[in-house]
Protein backbone atom coordinates (compact mmCIF):
# COMPACT_ATOMS: atom_id res chain seq x y z
CA UNK A 1 0.00 0.00 0.00
CA UNK A 2 1.37 3.42 -0.85
CA UNK A 3 1.38 6.40 1.40
CA UNK A 4 -0.63 8.76 -0.79
CA UNK A 5 1.38 11.86 -1.73
CA UNK A 6 0.85 15.00 -3.78
CA UNK A 7 3.05 14.83 -6.87
CA UNK A 8 3.92 17.58 -9.34
CA UNK A 9 5.45 16.66 -12.68
CA UNK A 10 6.45 19.67 -14.76
CA UNK A 11 5.95 19.09 -18.49
CA UNK A 12 3.84 16.04 -17.73
CA UNK A 13 1.50 16.48 -20.67
CA UNK A 14 3.59 14.35 -23.06
CA UNK A 15 6.69 12.20 -23.45
CA UNK A 16 8.66 11.07 -20.41
CA UNK A 17 6.79 13.41 -18.06
CA UNK A 18 3.49 11.86 -19.07
CA UNK A 19 4.81 8.36 -18.37
CA UNK A 20 5.98 9.53 -14.94
CA UNK A 21 2.64 11.18 -14.13
CA UNK A 22 0.69 8.10 -15.18
CA UNK A 23 2.85 5.80 -13.09
CA UNK A 24 2.37 7.90 -9.94
CA UNK A 25 -1.37 8.14 -10.59
CA UNK A 26 -1.64 4.37 -11.10
CA UNK A 27 0.15 3.85 -7.79
CA UNK A 28 -2.57 5.87 -6.05
CA UNK A 29 -0.92 9.27 -5.61
CA UNK A 30 -2.58 12.62 -6.26
CA UNK A 31 -0.86 13.94 -9.35
CA UNK A 32 -0.66 17.33 -11.01
CA UNK A 33 1.11 18.15 -14.25
CA UNK A 34 1.93 21.42 -15.94
CA UNK A 35 1.29 22.26 -19.52
CA UNK A 36 1.93 25.55 -21.26
CA UNK A 37 -1.25 25.34 -23.29
CA UNK A 38 -3.27 24.35 -20.22
CA UNK A 39 -4.35 21.21 -22.07
CA UNK A 40 -3.20 17.60 -22.15
CA UNK A 41 -4.69 14.47 -23.63
CA UNK A 42 -5.98 11.53 -21.62
CA UNK A 43 -5.48 12.89 -18.13
CA UNK A 44 -7.72 10.55 -16.18
CA UNK A 45 -7.69 11.80 -12.63
CA UNK A 46 -4.62 13.97 -13.17
CA UNK A 47 -4.84 17.69 -12.44
CA UNK A 48 -3.58 19.84 -15.31
CA UNK A 49 -2.33 23.30 -14.41
CA UNK A 50 -1.04 25.99 -16.68
CA UNK A 51 2.60 26.93 -16.14
CA UNK A 52 5.65 28.19 -17.96
CA UNK A 53 8.76 27.37 -15.91
CA UNK A 54 10.58 30.38 -17.36
CA UNK A 55 8.11 32.64 -15.54
CA UNK A 56 8.31 32.86 -11.74
CA UNK A 57 4.81 34.29 -11.35
CA UNK A 58 3.37 31.54 -13.52
CA UNK A 59 5.13 28.86 -11.42
CA UNK A 60 3.84 30.48 -8.25
CA UNK A 61 0.25 30.57 -9.53
CA UNK A 62 0.40 26.95 -10.70
CA UNK A 63 1.74 25.66 -7.39
CA UNK A 64 -0.84 27.72 -5.49
CA UNK A 65 -3.57 26.12 -7.57
CA UNK A 66 -2.22 22.65 -6.78
CA UNK A 67 -2.00 23.49 -3.07
CA UNK A 68 -5.64 24.59 -3.06
CA UNK A 69 -6.87 21.59 -5.02
CA UNK A 70 -4.68 18.69 -3.89
CA UNK A 71 -2.60 20.02 -0.99
CA UNK A 72 1.07 20.99 -0.69
CA UNK A 73 3.43 19.36 -3.19
CA UNK A 74 5.37 16.54 -1.53
CA UNK A 75 7.08 15.01 -4.56
CA UNK A 76 8.48 17.25 -7.27
CA UNK A 77 9.57 15.80 -10.60
CA UNK A 78 11.25 18.56 -12.55
CA UNK A 79 11.00 17.28 -16.10
CA UNK A 80 10.14 20.21 -18.37
CA UNK A 81 12.89 20.76 -20.89
CA UNK A 82 13.70 22.00 -24.37
CA UNK A 83 16.48 21.59 -26.92
CA UNK A 84 17.79 24.13 -29.37
CA UNK A 85 20.68 22.31 -31.02
CA UNK A 86 23.48 23.86 -33.01
CA UNK A 87 27.24 23.98 -33.21
CA UNK A 88 28.85 26.40 -30.78
CA UNK A 89 30.26 28.52 -33.62
CA UNK A 90 26.73 29.19 -34.81
CA UNK A 91 24.96 29.29 -31.47
CA UNK A 92 23.54 32.67 -30.46
CA UNK A 93 23.44 34.01 -26.91
CA UNK A 94 19.67 33.51 -26.94
CA UNK A 95 19.98 29.89 -28.03
CA UNK A 96 22.17 29.35 -25.01
CA UNK A 97 20.39 31.40 -22.37
CA UNK A 98 16.88 30.35 -23.41
CA UNK A 99 17.76 26.68 -22.92
CA UNK A 100 19.44 27.43 -19.58
CA UNK A 101 16.42 29.46 -18.50
CA UNK A 102 13.94 26.67 -19.23
CA UNK A 103 15.96 23.60 -18.24
CA UNK A 104 18.06 24.82 -15.33
CA UNK A 105 16.58 28.03 -13.93
CA UNK A 106 13.13 26.51 -14.51
CA UNK A 107 14.06 23.62 -12.22
CA UNK A 108 15.34 26.08 -9.63
CA UNK A 109 12.15 28.17 -9.74
CA UNK A 110 9.89 25.20 -9.14
CA UNK A 111 12.14 23.69 -6.45
CA UNK A 112 12.30 26.99 -4.57
CA UNK A 113 8.53 27.36 -4.69
CA UNK A 114 7.76 23.90 -3.29
CA UNK A 115 10.62 23.71 -0.78
CA UNK A 116 8.87 25.88 1.80
CA UNK A 117 6.01 23.47 2.36
CA UNK A 118 8.30 20.44 2.16
CA UNK A 119 10.44 22.01 4.87
CA UNK A 120 7.38 22.66 7.00
CA UNK A 121 6.21 19.07 6.58
CA UNK A 122 9.67 17.67 7.24
CA UNK A 123 9.26 15.43 4.20
CA UNK A 124 9.88 15.90 0.52
CA UNK A 125 11.30 14.38 -2.63
CA UNK A 126 12.83 16.34 -5.49
CA UNK A 127 13.81 14.51 -8.65
CA UNK A 128 15.37 16.33 -11.57
CA UNK A 129 15.30 14.84 -15.05
CA UNK A 130 18.72 15.54 -16.52
CA UNK A 131 20.26 13.57 -19.40
CA UNK A 132 23.29 11.42 -20.19
CA UNK A 133 24.27 14.38 -22.34
CA UNK A 134 24.74 16.32 -19.09
CA UNK A 135 27.30 13.72 -18.01
CA UNK A 136 29.28 13.32 -21.20
CA UNK A 137 28.58 16.40 -23.29
CA UNK A 138 27.42 16.30 -26.87
CA UNK A 139 28.59 18.04 -30.02
CA UNK A 140 25.78 20.32 -31.17
CA UNK A 141 24.20 20.50 -27.71
CA UNK A 142 26.48 22.78 -25.66
CA UNK A 143 23.48 24.72 -24.31
CA UNK A 144 21.44 21.63 -23.49
CA UNK A 145 24.39 19.72 -21.96
CA UNK A 146 25.32 22.74 -19.82
CA UNK A 147 21.75 23.02 -18.54
CA UNK A 148 21.54 19.30 -17.76
CA UNK A 149 24.93 19.26 -16.01
CA UNK A 150 23.82 22.33 -14.06
CA UNK A 151 20.86 20.41 -12.67
CA UNK A 152 23.32 18.06 -10.97
CA UNK A 153 24.97 20.92 -9.05
CA UNK A 154 21.55 22.33 -8.22
CA UNK A 155 20.22 19.01 -6.96
CA UNK A 156 23.30 18.24 -4.85
CA UNK A 157 23.11 21.68 -3.23
CA UNK A 158 19.41 21.23 -2.45
CA UNK A 159 20.24 17.79 -1.04
CA UNK A 160 22.72 19.35 1.36
CA UNK A 161 20.63 22.38 2.23
CA UNK A 162 17.52 20.37 3.08
CA UNK A 163 19.00 17.10 4.33
CA UNK A 164 18.08 17.89 7.93
CA UNK A 165 14.44 18.40 6.95
CA UNK A 166 13.64 14.97 5.55
CA UNK A 167 13.88 16.23 1.97
CA UNK A 168 15.94 14.31 -0.56
CA UNK A 169 17.03 15.54 -3.97
CA UNK A 170 18.27 13.30 -6.77
CA UNK A 171 18.90 13.35 -10.49
CA UNK A 172 17.85 10.82 -13.13
CA UNK A 173 19.76 10.85 -16.42
CA UNK A 174 17.75 9.20 -19.21
CA UNK A 175 19.55 7.74 -22.19
CA UNK A 176 17.78 7.63 -25.56
CA UNK A 177 14.07 7.21 -24.84
CA UNK A 178 11.38 6.49 -27.39
CA UNK A 179 9.58 9.85 -27.51
CA UNK A 180 8.54 12.30 -30.22
CA UNK A 181 11.91 13.97 -29.82
CA UNK A 182 13.79 10.83 -30.85
CA UNK A 183 11.29 9.60 -33.40
CA UNK A 184 12.05 12.74 -35.36
CA UNK A 185 15.54 11.39 -36.12
CA UNK A 186 16.34 9.54 -39.36
CA UNK A 187 16.79 5.74 -39.32
CA UNK A 188 20.52 6.25 -39.78
CA UNK A 189 20.77 8.63 -36.84
CA UNK A 190 18.84 6.19 -34.68
CA UNK A 191 21.04 3.26 -35.70
CA UNK A 192 24.17 5.26 -34.83
CA UNK A 193 22.69 6.04 -31.45
CA UNK A 194 21.75 2.43 -30.76
CA UNK A 195 25.23 1.19 -31.62
CA UNK A 196 26.55 2.84 -28.46
CA UNK A 197 23.82 1.53 -26.15
CA UNK A 198 24.94 -1.87 -24.79
CA UNK A 199 21.37 -3.01 -24.22
CA UNK A 200 20.80 -2.36 -27.92
CA UNK A 201 17.41 -0.69 -27.89
CA UNK A 202 15.72 2.59 -27.02
CA UNK A 203 14.32 2.99 -23.53
CA UNK A 204 10.65 3.49 -22.71
CA UNK A 205 9.26 6.44 -20.80
CA UNK A 206 7.94 4.08 -18.18
CA UNK A 207 11.47 2.80 -17.51
CA UNK A 208 12.42 6.34 -16.48
CA UNK A 209 9.21 6.56 -14.47
CA UNK A 210 10.09 3.39 -12.55
CA UNK A 211 13.40 4.88 -11.40
CA UNK A 212 11.70 8.14 -10.45
CA UNK A 213 9.02 6.30 -8.49
CA UNK A 214 11.66 4.45 -6.52
CA UNK A 215 13.59 7.62 -5.66
CA UNK A 216 10.33 9.18 -4.50
CA UNK A 217 9.39 6.25 -2.29
CA UNK A 218 9.61 5.97 1.47
CA UNK A 219 12.31 3.32 1.01
CA UNK A 220 14.65 5.79 -0.69
CA UNK A 221 14.93 8.12 2.32
CA UNK A 222 18.67 7.43 2.67
CA UNK A 223 19.42 8.17 -1.00
CA UNK A 224 20.13 11.83 -1.64
CA UNK A 225 22.43 13.86 -3.89
CA UNK A 226 22.85 10.96 -6.29
CA UNK A 227 22.84 10.83 -10.06
CA UNK A 228 21.19 7.78 -11.57
CA UNK A 229 21.63 7.05 -15.27
CA UNK A 230 18.81 5.00 -16.82
CA UNK A 231 20.36 4.47 -20.20
CA UNK A 232 20.83 0.84 -21.20
CA UNK A 233 24.45 1.05 -20.10
CA UNK A 234 25.41 3.95 -22.35
CA UNK A 235 27.25 6.02 -19.77
CA UNK A 236 29.23 3.28 -18.04
CA UNK A 237 32.17 3.96 -20.34
Amino acid sequence: MVNERVVLVTGGNRGIGQAIARRFAAAGHRVAITSRSGAADDTDGILVVNADVTDTASVDAAVSQIEETLGPVEILVSNAGITRDGLVLRMTDEDFTDVLDANLTGGFRVARRVSKSMMRNRWGRMIFISSIVGLGGQAGQANYAASKAGLIGLSKSLAKEFASRGITSNVVCPGPIETDMLMALTDEQRAAMLSVVPVGRLGQGDEIAAAVEFLASESAAFITGTVLPVDGGFSMG
Binding site: K116, M119, R120, E161, F162, S164, R165
Partner: protein, 76 residues
Protein backbone atom coordinates in the same frame (compact mmCIF):
# COMPACT_ATOMS: atom_id res chain seq x y z
CA UNK B 1 3.79 41.72 27.25
CA UNK B 2 2.66 43.45 24.12
CA UNK B 3 0.26 41.96 21.66
CA UNK B 4 2.98 42.02 19.00
CA UNK B 5 5.28 39.93 21.13
CA UNK B 6 2.52 37.40 21.65
CA UNK B 7 2.13 37.10 17.85
CA UNK B 8 5.89 36.84 17.47
CA UNK B 9 6.02 34.18 20.17
CA UNK B 10 3.34 32.10 18.46
CA UNK B 11 5.36 32.08 15.21
CA UNK B 12 8.50 31.05 17.07
CA UNK B 13 6.72 28.25 18.91
CA UNK B 14 5.23 26.94 15.65
CA UNK B 15 8.33 27.15 13.52
CA UNK B 16 11.01 26.20 16.03
CA UNK B 17 8.92 23.61 17.91
CA UNK B 18 9.86 25.05 21.28
CA UNK B 19 7.82 25.75 24.44
CA UNK B 20 6.29 29.17 24.89
CA UNK B 21 8.30 29.57 28.08
CA UNK B 22 11.54 29.29 26.10
CA UNK B 23 10.70 32.24 23.87
CA UNK B 24 12.12 35.01 26.08
CA UNK B 25 13.93 38.11 24.78
CA UNK B 26 17.39 37.01 25.93
CA UNK B 27 17.18 33.49 24.44
CA UNK B 28 19.69 32.89 21.66
CA UNK B 29 18.72 30.87 18.59
CA UNK B 30 21.60 28.60 19.44
CA UNK B 31 20.13 27.86 22.85
CA UNK B 32 16.83 27.04 21.11
CA UNK B 33 18.64 24.61 18.81
CA UNK B 34 17.70 26.69 15.78
CA UNK B 35 20.03 26.55 12.78
CA UNK B 36 20.26 28.98 9.86
CA UNK B 37 17.47 27.20 7.99
CA UNK B 38 15.21 27.53 11.06
CA UNK B 39 15.96 31.23 11.20
CA UNK B 40 15.01 31.68 7.54
CA UNK B 41 11.84 29.71 8.16
CA UNK B 42 10.99 31.85 11.19
CA UNK B 43 11.55 35.04 9.23
CA UNK B 44 9.27 33.78 6.44
CA UNK B 45 6.56 33.08 9.01
CA UNK B 46 7.03 36.51 10.59
CA UNK B 47 6.89 38.22 7.21
CA UNK B 48 3.53 36.59 6.66
CA UNK B 49 2.19 37.27 10.16
CA UNK B 50 3.22 40.94 10.26
CA UNK B 51 3.05 41.67 6.55
CA UNK B 52 6.62 43.00 6.41
CA UNK B 53 9.66 42.36 4.24
CA UNK B 54 13.02 41.31 5.65
CA UNK B 55 16.08 41.30 3.41
CA UNK B 56 18.72 38.59 3.65
CA UNK B 57 21.44 41.04 4.81
CA UNK B 58 19.32 42.28 7.69
CA UNK B 59 19.58 38.87 9.32
CA UNK B 60 23.32 39.31 9.86
CA UNK B 61 24.03 39.38 13.57
CA UNK B 62 20.45 38.52 14.53
CA UNK B 63 21.20 35.91 17.17
CA UNK B 64 18.56 36.42 19.83
CA UNK B 65 14.79 36.54 20.14
CA UNK B 66 15.07 40.22 21.15
CA UNK B 67 17.08 41.08 18.02
CA UNK B 68 14.66 39.28 15.73
CA UNK B 69 11.68 40.88 17.44
CA UNK B 70 13.21 44.37 17.21
CA UNK B 71 13.93 43.85 13.53
CA UNK B 72 10.33 42.95 12.77
CA UNK B 73 8.82 45.67 14.96
CA UNK B 74 11.05 48.32 13.38
CA UNK B 75 9.22 47.65 10.13
CA UNK B 76 5.69 48.04 11.38
Amino acid sequence: MSDNFERFKKCAVDVLSVDEAQVVPEATFESLDADSLDLVELVMALEEEFDVNVEEEELDGVNTIQAAYDLVVSKL
